[in-house]
Amino acid sequence: MRGQRIVITRAHIGLVTSIIGGAALMIGVIGLIWQGGFTFYVALTLAIGIFCIAAWAIVTPQEFAGFITGRQARRSTVAIFSTILLIGVVALVYLILQRAALSLDMTVAQRFTLSPETEAVLQRVQRPIRITGFYTARSLDQREIDDEFFRLYTSDTNGLIQRTYVNPDEQPALAQRYGVTADGQDFIAYINPDGSTDLTTLAYIPRDTSGDNQERDVTQAISRLLLAGSLSVYFDTSLGERDTADTTQQGISGINAGVRESGLNTYPLNLVNLAQTNGDIPPNAATVVLVRPTTDLSDAEIAVLDRYLKKGGSLFIMADVLFNDSPFLKQNGDFNNYLWNNYGIRALDAAVVDPASSSQTALNVVSAYVFPQTDIGARLDPTKNPTMFSLARPLDVNTKTTPANVANGEVILSSDQSYGETDLKTLGETNTYHYDQGKDLPGPLPLVVWASNKQTQAKIVLIGDSDFVSNGSVSIQGNGVLFTDSMAWLSGLGQQIAFAPQMYGVGVPLMFVSSQTLDLITFLTTILLPGVVLVMGLGIWLRRSRR
């Protein structure tokens, strides 16, 4: 062997150029489709392919003609081209499957499968929806994790729910249009027929900071989008309540905007006028909200609310400690008695003082106990998401002799060390308080209670404070969650997405593969390995042919 001259024939050159030309053309065609047009590398690959095929035709015209006509093609050339095509077929199958967003949960506990509750919501999706995530380069890992999860929604709706990711650093104008304020925020909106995002339906997907309720948060956002505009909430304005248009720290413009962002319509209500004209609350009212009326209700006004509740209405009441002559929900007042007799809940004439669970002063009470099994308290873990009240009234729930067909209960309590200061006169005049045995109310005291009538479907949430929803306080800790989850339960929004315990894991998936790694695996398995086999086969063939 040693000393033998290596002779390169035209046939050898023709063979090599045919292989390179065939492979380059195949890669070029796949690249062209994959990239959706000509890029530099696609054009370069196609040019190499065309050049090599042309060289093949020039160097060995008979071999080329024989291959094209299929009459006299050499077996080796045909075999090589068959192998090249097989590699191309494998690569195309991979690309098609990759884009098909197929998901297969192979975990024993089905950790990566959407819950039946979510699937029920997704069955109602009829119009294309887009989830738009804003992730900077610093949050690429989080984006990959979130996309693994969002992909389930795409898969479950056969592509009706689409995903788009934007780097806000690179597109600040778009980020501003969406209202992006932090890295990793996700938004949801319908898609217009022309493929653009319908910004009029845009809604932020609030994410539980604990990360334990990812599926619920996203599904709730989808459900809200589906329900957008179908539910109406009425804020009464006739009894001196906080103003939904007031943008100051004391106003409640924030919750009004929040309710609207959740897809509910909000309207003002004039209860006094309805009572005077013997009118009724509009039948489309999903919830009537009383945010700290300053005066107590008359019999006629109570009658309006009673008629509404008997038709299955929902009432959201927030009552403050008031120092006027006829304060709203005074303990022996008509409306308080109405609530007690018909729903087993009432407000007490006292102010909660809690030295153990409070912020600035003992009157700034922080939730100490929460009943998490209630729809309203599920997200209000006092250790992670405490609610903060200011000069709150203690409430009372009649659980022993509950009125017929009524279910009621507590949601949030003050601590064991708390008490209800009943000397409101001294408190109001001197801002001083101390526990008087036998006179003041011993804690723990209910701060948030609920009631519902199983027969009429009427629902009531009573909260002994309204400061927590004011613009200055609603964003503090769990205050916003208390309001929104109360509203969701009352309006029926929560029924659409009543969740079993969260099933989806939000940590890093068991096997985390980034898109770059996935591309490398694709290259290794579909291009490199078969290519190496091809080259080895070619080498063996050349070696044998020289013998």
């Binding site: 195949m26 994959w34 077929v89 380069a137 990711y165 600040p172 304020t181």
Partner: protein
């Protein structure tokens, strides 16, 4: 003939799959990733710059017109030619060190004709930094808006075509220095 038949079958399968991929590509994509940006680390804007090479630094706010300049005297101490009063040498050194370290986390390619106003260059930014070196070379850094996530500032550097994402603390420090120059 058998080999040719196999080749033709593979060719037909290839064509069918290619058409399928084409049709799939034409449908609305389920995922649109704007830019396949990769993980990043903080780097110096002028990695070769040393403290001794800095002759002068000028900070200027196009919005307010306020300017603050520090310049090195012959004995190596810092002076503030525009601002009367005693200049803090420590603060001046900190400014110069900031120029040396000036950290950025990412660069982004701007295409010709891109609207730079969304990055805060209308056409000027919120802060202009000019560094003059002892060898007469100068560098100009134009700082734009803060990023949407408030983590950094956009910046244009010299005549380079790229957009830089500057780390926020360094730029915040320079802005506050311009507002309250360290001159007693």
């Amino acid at each position: 003939m058998k080999n040719i038949r196999t080749l033709l079958i593979f060719a037909m399968i290839f064509v069918v799959l290619a058409l399928l991929l084409y049709v799939q590509s034409k449908q609305a994509p389920s995922v649109i990733v704007a830019t396949p940006t990769v993980g990043q680390s903080v780097a110096q804007l002028f990695p070769d710059l040393t403290l001794d090479e800095i002759q002068a630094v000028q900070l200027n706010s196009p919005e307010t017109g306020k300017t603050f300049t520090i310049s090195r005297a012959a004995d190596g101490s810092w002076t503030a030619p525009i601002n009367p009063g005693k200049l803090s040498q420590i603060a001046s050194n900190d400014i110069a060190k900031t120029m040396v370290l000036l950290p950025f986390s990412q660069t982004m390619m701007l295409k010709p004709g891109d609207d730079k106003s969304s990055y805060g260059f209308t056409p000027k930014g919120v802060l202009q930094i000019e560094i003059i070196l002892t060898n007469g070379v100068s560098h100009a850094v134009e700082i734009g808006y803060r990023t949407p996530t408030q983590d950094g500032y956009y910046a244009l550097v010299d005549d380079l075509p790229n957009l830089y994402l500057m780390e926020r603390p360094a730029i915040d420090y320079l802005i506050s220095t311009l507002r309250s120059p360290p001159v007693a």
